[in-house]
């Protein structure tokens, strides 16, 4: 029995006893169940499994520390009003913000960060990682890390534009439908139903094979697919707002539709829309990645995470994790955005207690 194993069990048992002694119920439950699981793991997996547990715990602790520091950093930098809101953010939300921040930096400063060009062939196909290439090379010998950084710009930028457009279309239609009501509302509602009744991936494939896989077509196709969902949400939220007395007062004052939407309805429907924006962004991102994977998204040699997964997919059968790295980048962003969205939903739904 190695020193590591003895140290491991001593530490974890001491920590559970301390937690129990100081009446920290949830901490004790967590630590002690980990101890029990570790017994089994140690028997089955040996030292390797225990080391894996330590690494995972260390990673979680590390990201918690990063999140905490990042939140404090944001609180210090922002003005008092925003700082007060930020203080209510849980660590998960801070982690999400940190992830988004990192991706934004990577995307904006991609040419400065990436050591090699997006399409530059610098070594043999599937070359392993060395001091020149952080993550090895892809199937044409391009630097994986550089392509990952450029991919942040292309994939995220495309998803962001498409989501913004979907929101612009959907929210405008939804607000108009709620304020106008009557036949306009009905017509918009049925139109949205028609779009939603077409399976989204098939619709996108159809549009892309008709008009060709260029970036504007991808953006418009994705925006059209997601706009009806935004429309439905906006209409429902705004529907609750337009029955308020202050809307009646504004109508009786003789205000036009533009003022009603801009000043009276929109500020009161903003919170759920922002939360929905985060969610839709993830869906759009996954759809764009899916399209790229199928070969109808962003075209080579432009770096894109979805197509990077597909291009390197053969490596998986050799037990190499290279194709999973862009997939992990997508997953991390999705999780990060959802953490932030959860926090916003929590705030806007008034579940504060």
């Amino acid at each position: 029995m190695s020193l590591f194993v003895i140290g491991y069990y001593t530490l974890i048992l001491a920590a559970s006893c301390l937690a129990a002694y100081f009446n920290k119920r949830s901490a004790f439950l967590l630590l002690f169940s980990l101890t029990l699981v570790s017994f089994v793991l140690g028997i089955i997996g040996g030292v390797g499994a225990l080391k894996f547990v330590v690494v995972v715990a260390g990673l979680i602790a590390l990201s918690a520390m990063v999140s905490y520091a990042f939140r404090e950093f944001l609180i210090t930098l922002s003005p008092t009003g925003v700082a007060k809101e930020l203080r209510t953010a849980p660590l998960t939300a801070a982690f999400g913000m940190f992830v988004i921040f990192t991706y934004a930096i990577a995307g904006i400063f991609a040419p400065l960060i990436a050591p090699h060009g997006e399409a530059a062939v610098i070594s043999g196909a599937f070359a392993p990682a060395d001091e020149n290439m952080l993550l090895g090379a892809d199937q044409l010998g391009r630097d994986m890390f550089s392509r990952l950084v450029f991919g942040a710009r292309n994939s995220v930028g495309l998803a962001l534009t498409a989501t913004l457009m979907a929101f612009f279309l959907g929210a405008t239609a939804g607000l108009l439908a709620a304020v106008k009501g009557g036949w306009f509302d009905q017509a918009m509602g049925r139109f949205a139903d028609v779009i939603m009744s077409i399976p989204s991936l098939i619709f996108a494939l159809l549009m892309l094979s008709i008009f060709g896989p260029t970036i504007p077509v991808i953006i418009v196709a994705v925006a059209i697919i997601y706009a009806p969902r935004v429309f439905r949400l906006t209409r429902a939220v705004a529907g609750n707002v337009v029955v308020m007395d202050y809307i009646e007062a504004a109508k009786l004052r003789g205000e036009g539709t533009g003022y009603l939407i801009r000043r009276e309805v929109l500020p009161n429907s903003m919170a759920p829309l922002i939360a929905e924006f985060g969610l839709e962004f993830c869906f759009v991102f996954l759809l764009v990645a899916g399209l790229s994977f199928l070969g109808l998204g962003i075209q080579p040699p432009t770096a894109d995470w979805g197509s990077m997964v597909r291009e390197n997919a053969t490596l998986i059968s050799f037990g190499d994790i290279t194709p999973l790295i862009p997939a992990a980048a997508i997953a991390l962003l999705t999780v990060g955005v959802n953490f932030v969205v959860d926090w916003m939903l929590h705030r806007s739904s008034g579940l504060k207690e």
């Binding site: 308020m244 007395d245 202050y246 009646e248 007062a249 109508k251 009786l252 004052r253 003789g254 205000e255 000043r263 009276e264 500020p267 009161n268 903003m270 207690e353």
Partner: protein
């Protein structure tokens, strides 16, 4: 009436804290309370005085976000509730302590029949078998004079009227024959005519079973009928406590006196100017919502410039619909509205800016009538900007002037948002928004009914002052006759969409009345503690409330 003098509930130094802005703040600051068996104690005070919090605290319960702090003692029949375990406290609730909430409609589960909800507690505590419990429920319904006591329990809550539901809830609280019932504003949401039935029912049943009760309300006249002793609360502290008669005749503290004095405000009655055209005139209006029954049936009344016309009636009598017809939200089916003798465009969408400006509205609930995401400066400034085209400094001056007019300090309120204001201040902002349009006619839809009496009094005085300064005409929709008495010049009484009586105020408050007006007037509680007893003796139990209203209508 003999009352056993043993103590049932003893609260000592009750302190309840609430969590706000990351601090624990005292909501109840050390209140003592002693309640004997069979005694009814009235808790009165403004909203925010902590009445309901004390009521819940008497059950050893603190709402989410609040906690009973250490050192408080709530002793119920010899058992300390603050240190009891949750399951011990649960065993008391519903069984020995029951609670009747303000809104019965919101407190009943709409998916279950009334009697199933009634029998839930006795079955849960295994006091009665289901059939016995149902039998008992029917007896209680009969005692509470609910119509068709043997079958009403098998209806769903939405099939029963508000007053009946409130009585069914009282019956439900009685189902285990508790020692203590807490009534939290049980009649506040009801019309006066309905309220009287509920009050009579509650009083009878509490007497009959010698139940102790804590009666929470902000209506002094109601508490005078119900309570043996009255405790006055202000901001979580006790002001004074005394037996009802003594409290009414001889209040000691200034705050109590000010509560009593509230009803004294009365604006001098104005007379119709002779030979003038009425400002607003409704002529034989019929109105209905699409494909529904007629809500207004041949309604005619006039409103002259600078005068206040109060429109009174129960809920559902068509008061608010009349207002919607005038504002143009609901164009009439028949008849027309005249403005200074000229026809007023029926649909608000077709009205000119000037027509829209003339007629403004103040709403009942200031919470829903002010946009929570817009600054006060814009809420008030927008009409001025919209109608008069004011900009920049002129607009700011106008807003300051309006804020001055409603007695709010401009510098303090200019940049605030509505959620940062109290109920009375919000209502004042609503008034300022109406004034900003420089109207000649304002519809006040139950503007004071959501406010405490002292605050409501301030609003009424403000409206009266503004009327004198700006020569405004008011249409005052209300069901509160005390408000009518203080501010109206003329009164229109409505029942089921028809005008049953109209005339100057002093005539309306003198007999002879139309029977419906008489019923409304006699149903308003008075401060005399024997008022309810006398009234019931005079009219008989079957001749008050809904039953009587139904008789008049047919």
């Amino acid at each position: 009436m003999t009352k056993k003098k043993d103590v049932l509930l003893k609260i000592r130094n009750l302190r309840i804290e609430g969590y706000s802005n990351e601090h624990w703040v005292d909501i109840i600051k050390g209140v003592d309370l002693t309640l004997h068996r069979g005694e009814v104690m009235g808790l009165i005070g403004e909203s925010g005085a902590g009445k309901s919090t004390i009521g819940a605290g008497a059950m050893g319960y603190a709402r989410d976000g609040t906690r009973i702090s250490e050192g408080s003692s709530v002793e119920f029949d010899g058992m300390e509730l603050t240190t009891a375990t949750e399951s011990e406290r649960r065993a008391l609730r519903g069984n020995r302590i029951a609670y009747v909430a303000q809104s019965a409609a919101a407190s009943f589960n709409p998916a279950h029949k009334i009697i199933d909800q009634h029998t839930e507690a006795p079955l849960h505590y295994r006091l009665q078998k289901r059939m016995e419990a149902q039998e008992d429920a029917m007896q209680l319904y009969e005692k509470l004079r609910l119509p068709h006591p043997h079958e009403i329990g098998f209806r769903y809550p939405h099939q029963v009227s508000g007053g009946q539901l409130q009585r069914a809830m009282t019956a439900m609280a009685m189902s285990c024959r508790p020692d203590l019932i807490i009534f939290d504003e049980p009649t506040t949401a009801l019309d006066v005519t309905t309220q009287i039935e509920v009050l009579a029912a509650i009083r009878d049943i509490v007497d009959e079973y010698n139940t102790a009760a804590i009666y929470i309300t902000h209506d002094l006249a109601v508490v005078a009928q119900m309570a043996d002793t009255i405790k006055v609360l202000l901001k979580g502290e006790e002001v004074e406590e005394a037996p009802t008669e003594e409290m009414l005749d001889n209040p000691k503290e200034d705050y109590t006196k000010s509560l009593w004095a509230v009803r004294s405000f009365e604006s001098p009655q104005r007379q119709r100017p002779k030979g003038e055209v009425p400002l607003i005139s409704l002529q034989h209006i019929d109105a209905a919502y699409t494909a529904g029954p007629k809500i207004l049936d041949d309604v005619s009344f006039d409103i002259y410039a600078g005068m206040t016309v109060a429109v009174v009636g129960e809920s559902g009598s068509g008061k608010s619909t009349a207002a919607r017809v005038i504002t143009g939200l609901l164009p009439p089916q028949k008849g027309e509205v005249l403005f200074k003798g000229e026809p007023f465009t029926p649909d608000y969408r077709n009205r000119t800016k000037d027509e829209l400006r003339q007629c403004q509205m103040i709403y009942q609930s200031a919470d829903t009538s002010l946009n929570p995401k817009v600054r006060i400066s814009e809420i008030i400034g927008r009409p001025a900007q919209f109608y008069s085209g004011l900009k920049g400094a002129a607009l700011k001056n106008r807003v300051d002037e309006l804020l001055d007019l409603i007695e709010l300090e401009p510098a303090l309120y200019y940049n605030r948002y509505p959620p940062e204001l109290s109920g009375g201040q919000k209502q004042r902002i609503g008034i300022a928004r109406a004034l900003a349009a420089e109207p000649t006619f304002i519809i006040c839809d139950e503007v004071t009914s959501a406010l405490d009496q002292l605050v409501a009094e301030g609003i009424l005085r403000l409206l009266d002052r503004l009327q004198n300064e700006l020569n405004l005409a008011y249409m005052f929709i209300t069901h509160d006759l005390a408000t009518v008495r203080s501010i109206a010049d003329e009164v229109v009484v409505m029942q089921q969409g028809k005008v049953v009586e109209q005339g100057p105020k002093d005539e309306m408050f003198q007999p002879p009345h139309h029977p419906y007006t008489d019923l409304l007037l006699s149903s308003v509680p008075e401060m005399d503690p024997n008022w309810l007893t006398t009234l019931l003796e005079e009219r008989g139990v079957d001749n008050v409330g809904d039953a009587a209203a139904a008789k008049i209508a047919t």
